[in-house]
Amino acid sequence: MVKVATNLDVPIKILWSKSLTFATENGFTMLGLGDIVVPGMFVALALRYDQHRAEVRGDAHKGFAKPYFYAALSAYFLGLCTTMIVMHTFRAAQPALLYLRCVRYHNFPGHGPDIPDSPACILSFVITATIRGERGEAWNWHDGEAEPEATAAVTDARANSARSSPRPPQQPVAPSNGGLLSRIPRIRWETRVQPRSTPS
């Protein structure tokens, strides 16, 4: 058995008290950030795919159908519920370990076990795509937003820099007399008033 020796003292987990009054006697339930961010990116990708499909159909303005997004989100939620239920079940069978394990979780720089999340998200995607009969297309879909920028960078660098927003005011040309004064980074504070863009 590997013993994890390092103690990371950074907030990389979400804690929720196990006692109803938020006291610390029962320890905490933990959920690690990795188990939030990685499935979260997957769920966000599912939403982008739904938007892409709506754009292809032509009705991407508002209220487009989001089957992949709801499937991925429900799968993630059910995976978390499964984790909690399994942890509770195991603990009910081992009463002697109840408080020991809680205390151990509390002081440890790790996270609660979250095994069902990843297969749940993957399966949600596979099942949804299979049911809708577009598994091949969904599997080979590539988020197209990166591609136009890449080709533009290859062909025309200036156009690429012009695409970045918001457009800053004109950069002052540093006086090139070659001395040290010209190397001091210039800090400009400028306030501009802009009309608010169309309501989003």
Partner: protein, 108 residues
């Protein structure tokens, strides 16, 4: 009808420009408070679930808005890696103790 209502503040250092809205600029000290409490507060503050939660949720929110996947293939590869990592974490380390315990017998 479209009046100027949004103020943009541009901070430029050499070639780098940071643009902020005025409310965001004024709220920067407010947003630094949880980090300061966590870094320089007593160790009791670190064990407090509230500060940890605030910082962890902020990190998660920013990570999700900055990181994007490009295809479901990449997503599935990442999720498989996370799955293997979780399995190793539960069964290969001593964080989660094995689910066997001596029975406690009630006295008498």
């Amino acid at each position: 009808m479209a009046r100027a209502v949004a103020h943009q503040i541009y901070l430029t250092i050499d070639m780098h420009t940071l643009s902020l809205r005025m409310p965001s600029l004024l709220l920067i000290p407010c947003g630094a408070i949880p980090s300061l409490i966590y870094s320089f507060g007593p160790s009791q503050a670190r064990k407090s679930a509230l500060v940890t939660d605030v910082l962890a949720l902020s990190l998660a929110f920013n990570a999700l808005s900055l990181l994007t996947l490009d295809s479901f293939k990449t997503g599935c590869i990442l999720l498989s890696g996370l799955f293997l990592y979780d399995v190793w974490w539960v069964f290969g380390t001593e964080v989660v103790r094995p689910f066997i315990a001596p029975r406690r017998f009630a006295p008498g």
